[in-house]
Amino acid sequence: MSGRRLPAGGHIDRERHLSFSFDGRRFFGHPGDTLASALIANGVRLVGRSFKYHRPRGIMTAGPDEPSALVELREGARTEPNSKMTEVALYEGLVARSQNRWPSLGLDLMAVNSLAGKLIGAGFYYKTFMWPKAFWEKVYEPLIRRAAGLGRAVDRRDPDHYEALHAHCDVLVVGSGAAGLAAARAAGASGARVILCERDDLLGGGLLLDPAHDAWRRQTIAALEAMPEVEILPRTNVFGYYDHNLLGAIEHAGDHLAEPAPHQVRQRYRTFRATEVVLATGASERLIAFPGNDKPGVMMAGAALAYIHRFGVAPGERAVIFTNNDSAYATAHALADAQFDRIVLADSRAASACADDVKARGIDVRFGVEVAHYGGDRVTLRARNGASDRIPADLLCVSGGWNPNVHLASQSGARLRWHEQIASFVPGEPVQAERSAGAARGVFGPGNAARDGAEAGAAAAIAAGFKPGAAFALPDADRPETPLEPLWEVRAQGKAFVDLQNDVTTEDIRLAHREGFSHIEHAKRYTTHNMATDQGKLGGLVGAAVLAEARGEPLEKVGLPTFRPYTSPVTIGALAGRAIGEHFQPVRRTSLHDWHLRHGAAMQPSGAWLRPFYYPKPGEDIWDAIFREARAVRGSVGICDVSTLGKIDLQGPDAATFLDRLYANAFSTLAIGKARYGLMLREDGIAFDDGTTARLGPEHFLLTCTTANAGPVLEHMEFYAQTVWPDLDVQFSSVTDQWAQMAVAGPRSRLTLQKVVAGLDLSNEAFPFMAVGEATIAGIPVRVFRISFSGELAYEVAAPSGDGETVWEAIIAAGEEFGIAPYGLEAMGLMRIEKGHAAGPELNGQTTAADLGMGRMVKKAGDVVGRVLGARPALANPSRPRLVGIRPTDPAKRLRGGAHLVSEPGAGKSLGWVSSVTQSIELSQWIGLAMLEDGAARQGQLLHAVSPLHGESVEVIVTSPHHIDPENARVRA
């Protein structure tokens, strides 16, 4: 119990109180607090347990670098595992729980792992759990899996909403510290469109930690807010830098609330397409490895500063500051401001220019000393001469120097460069249109960073084509610093951590090196260093330094693992946005959609479309409905919405030539007013698509293609027209949505249509099979095609889609006396299998024209897509699987789609597969289509359709694929 709220200071609203709970205990905080600052204010010190050894952990940082202070936040369906308390804004009623402990945070029995620490170092798993073999699956792995993970996911639908938003700007500024504010202002003053992103809810970055800079911060923000083309986005973390200057970000629009407001999203996924980018992402303070550097009470020096000045809380009472650089002296001043009982500043260097000011406040400054151990209440200081001193401290502030946040620059493609003076990496030459400014490139101090930012912002605006704007005031110049002296590790007895969340120690790094895992990527993977949710921000470079020392090479040669997205973990729901569930992909509806709904159709997705599968009547099951619909067609008349067929209007003097080349069969010989079936091949000779094409005029055709291939066929035609035969004079466009198309099928289809069609003689003589004509129905101009998919006498009627329902209803009214039934895809499928038409299951990208029984259609010469490669020896092999029909010899037996055909039940060699099955209404038994090796030669043979998955084997006879009316008499009736 050592933290406390200070009587004054901080960007918090002391007037208002917020209650919250942690591990079931109730506390109070203020608006402006994070969960971390509020817990510190309430004296809470132990907040989590580490992943592997279950060591007790406290709050280390005040931001996204936090490795230890992770909680399960919120409750019920809003539960959110692994949230960093240092990033969770406090709100009324907040509920959080600690993670990865059993039975409780205070008493975690899994901490016995720590005792086995000597055995379970890096790479332990790979060397063990192998004996006996069977134990891995039954014993070891289940144990490991149970111990895995931190927080729990809740298997509930997320009640919150997310959305995407795409923005464009001339200059994007990432980060709103001194450099970012100045960059945005300089760019904005030029008139450029500027977007300024800040991950925090307050703008200012490091400026927030020094009350002396608050005036400039406020004044600059006010200036930016007055610029109409500057947009400021707080709570917006840029997570990735992608190609062509596109950056991705998450705006935490509602995370600071108990629940997002009505009509508001929880998070917004934003993309920015920027002409120029200024990366003012600041720097992260790094750890020093020493025994006990993970104990509750250890905190980064900059974080301690933030807790005092940003949040008005003191994270302890007696403090030691351990540093190798000047930045921690500001923390010393802050601790003094916060009236700590005792402050010892242990500087590993020999001197600092800042020392006198600090000493003047009564702070005990010691040079040339290191922290050799921290036990949670006492710090062991060790001087160069070996003398040691034990100092009681409930707070140990650590600063090993600052690493520029180079993640985004690195992701943009820029190589990193070693910066000797700050002992860290900075961005090298830009690859994309970006520049770093301020601490992000090693320019520290608000005065220096603001100057650097202002220059970067102006340069970015100029690069984006703007003239520089008026100059503006900048903060005072910074005092010169005493240089940092790199200090990575204090070697002493005990575990010294380089990755607190994954429990990676300096010894683990050295072990990895001894075992040959000396490359930084190997060491990372072997030890799991840097792979936790803090992504190694605190200790990444420290681990690399330990490895460098072990290898005996300079740190810059060892380098860092690749920086990949994300700069900070990103909520998956935000990236998904609204495109989930029924919004996952666009849905297409035909113009008859409402009619289908009104008439009880069972609608199902079919590719992008919603289509009626069948129209159940009360008391009917699926098959009842399908049979009734199919019988209506076979016995009288039915009507089916086939509007989804792709339709392409093709015109031009070379239209017929174009079709001759595009289709395997000829179209130039097609008479005007007639339609013809066509088969399209891919260039590799495999069947691509089929459909009927009608000739409407000498230079005018209407193609149809399958629903699934409507898009690909148009694209295919565009490829050949634009790139292969640009000399052909053809014009074509999709008219799929222009026309509602309905199949009117059955022996009484003519009688039905004759009642409503005006202006067209439908008699068999005047309008034979494959005829095409124009007419009107209910006064609406329509096209009539005499084509059939069902195998019956049938027509297709095309009406302008806005009038589709009028025409459809007129036909239904005319067919009422014949018992006309609307039929769905299921009945259509049943009938096409009876008829033996190949469809999607047969045109599956693996079959040739010959496989489908259409080999004779393919032109033997001339320029035809797919002709040449379709003749390759193995594709031309006549014993390839061919389309056949099959029927069980026992009519009571059922067939399964996907069954294989074998010569006898026990045979392992598949001769082919069953592609489509149905229950035939004409034959009153299951029938199927199959692709069968030597299919043509096997007609009449007895084979077995086996489905080991179902444990079924059915004797079948091989037939023609045309189960009904092989002579094709009905369609010509």
């Binding site: 729990r152 995407a164 949710t533």
Partner: protein
């Protein structure tokens, strides 16, 4: 099964773990040596990824050929072997593939004992979802083909899927789950460990693993390979096997071969670690999404190619947006989790989505490549078959169909019928 390997020196055992642990872990030796290249080897394997290292291991352990070097331009295992989604399965529908991948899966099942290294092979099942009758029939065709070839497969109905994957939104409006095809023997393995295990086992049998040595040319005399030019000088060899996913075309260029290969990007993702949620591997094929949970707790997931030629290992956002939407649509609990890291591998895509392990027109030169995105699960099988092909100068029955000539002959092994369009496979 492979010939029983000779016991290797420096074995891991419970006793040694205890001894080393108490001794401060000072006694462990490097998992593989860092030797200087010798002037000549019987066999040089170009490529120190999983396939190359496995080839070396099986050359040594099955064929007794130990004068072998594996040459790698960087550190071993940082190509696709170190950047995949760790899935292991053999649920292919075309016999040429099933035969090969099933042999690979059998090798996986004995790999820990063979290598004396825990690669954490975890057979918790792989289920492919389907959402329509037509998709079910395609899955049934594949499952039955597997069963006829002696490979395990089970058809699950909706309730069956719900039992093994209760976290799925079965009533997804656009993709209601009808059922799934389960291969219970499928699962995952720890990808890096596979690399390290093969490297260690090959090293202990005398194979030289030479890192930071880039091949710059393939030397030939009279139609026969004689060695490789490298950044560390010429190294002679009786035979050269190339297994360089992501660089297959470049090596083929050096040998004057032209291949039906395009190189594409595939992204993968991992979430923050959470307590066990997903036990098996689930693939939501029509949504182009698959997922599993690692032993450490991260959800590992991925989807389709980014869709354009690339060697960059830089993924982009369109795929990310689609994938996350597919994931949340199918797994509601996914929404509030956070994705921690993203990476991308470069895939050598062939024009029919199946690989090749074969001889070339040049004597003594062998190629292994075109793994598309199926390379990880193939690792032991690929190494085993490649070793056989190199040692015997002829393919084994398991890889006999996996030639480059098949494209010219029209004997395509096109599982999905996507045709010569790698971006669509």
């Amino acid at each position: 099964m492979p010939a029983r390997p000779e016991p290797i020196a420096d074995r891991y055992s419970a006793w040694r773990l205890l001894k080393e642990g108490l001794g401060g872990n000072k006694g462990w030796k490097p998992a593989w040596r860092k030797p200087e290249p010798k002037p000549h080897y019987d066999v040089i394997i170009v490529g120190g990824g999983g396939h190359g290292l496995a080839t070396a291991h099986y050359l040594a352990s099955v064929h007794g050929i130990t004068n072998v070097a594996v040459i790698e331009k960087g550190p071993i295992g940082l190509g696709n072997g170190g950047r995949n989604t760790t899935i292991v399965r053999s649920n292919y529908g075309l016999p040429s593939n099933t035969r090969f991948y099933e042999w690979s899966l059998k090798l996986w099942e004995g790999l820990e004992q063979d290598l004396n290294y825990n690669v954490m092979m975890s057979q918790r099942g792989v289920v492919n979802l389907f959402h329509t009758d037509a998709q079910r029939d395609v899955a049934v065709r594949r499952g039955n083909s597997m069963r006829l070839q002696g490979v395990d497969a089970e058809l699950l109905d909706r309730d069956g899927v719900a039992r093994i994957a209760p976290f799925l939104a079965l009533d997804n409006p656009l993709f209601p789950v009808y059922g799934g095809l389960l291969q219970a023997r499928g699962g995952t393995a720890r990808h890096d460990a596979v690399i390290w295990g093969f490297a260690r086992a090959a090293d202990r049998r005398g194979v030289d693993i030479i890192e930071h040595c880039e091949v710059t040319g393939i030397r030939r005399e009279g139609g026969r390979v004689t060695g490789v030019e490298t950044t560390r000088g010429f190294i002679g060899a009786g035979k050269v096997g190339v297994a360089v996913a992501g660089n297959t075309t470049r090596l083929a260029d050096m040998a004057g071969l032209r291949l039906p290969v395009e190189t594409h990007l595939l992204q993968a993702f991992v979430t923050e670690a959470i307590k066990p949620l997903i036990d098996c591997v689930v693939t939501f094929g029509v949504g182009h999404f698959y997922i599993s949970q690692s032993d450490k707790g991260g959800l590992v997931f991925g989807g389709d190619l980014d869709g354009y030629n690339s060697y960059s290992q830089r993924g982009n956002l369109p795929l990310v947006e689609h994938l996350m939407a597919a994931g949340v649509s199918m797994i509601p609990a996914f929404s509030r989790l956070r994705v921690l890291r993203q990476w991308a591998g470069v895939m050598d895509m062939t024009m029919d989505s199946s690989p090749f392990i074969c001889k070339t027109p040049i004597d003594g030169l062998y190629f292994n490549g075109g793994w598309c995105y199926g390379g990880f699960k193939a690792t032991p099988g690929s190494g085993w078959c490649f070793a056989h092909t190199i040692a015997k100068d002829e393919p084994h029955a398991f890889n006999a169909d996996l030639t480059i000539e098949r494209f010219r002959e029209g004997r395509l092994i096109d599982e999905r019928g996507a045709g010569p369009n790698p971006w669509a496979q």
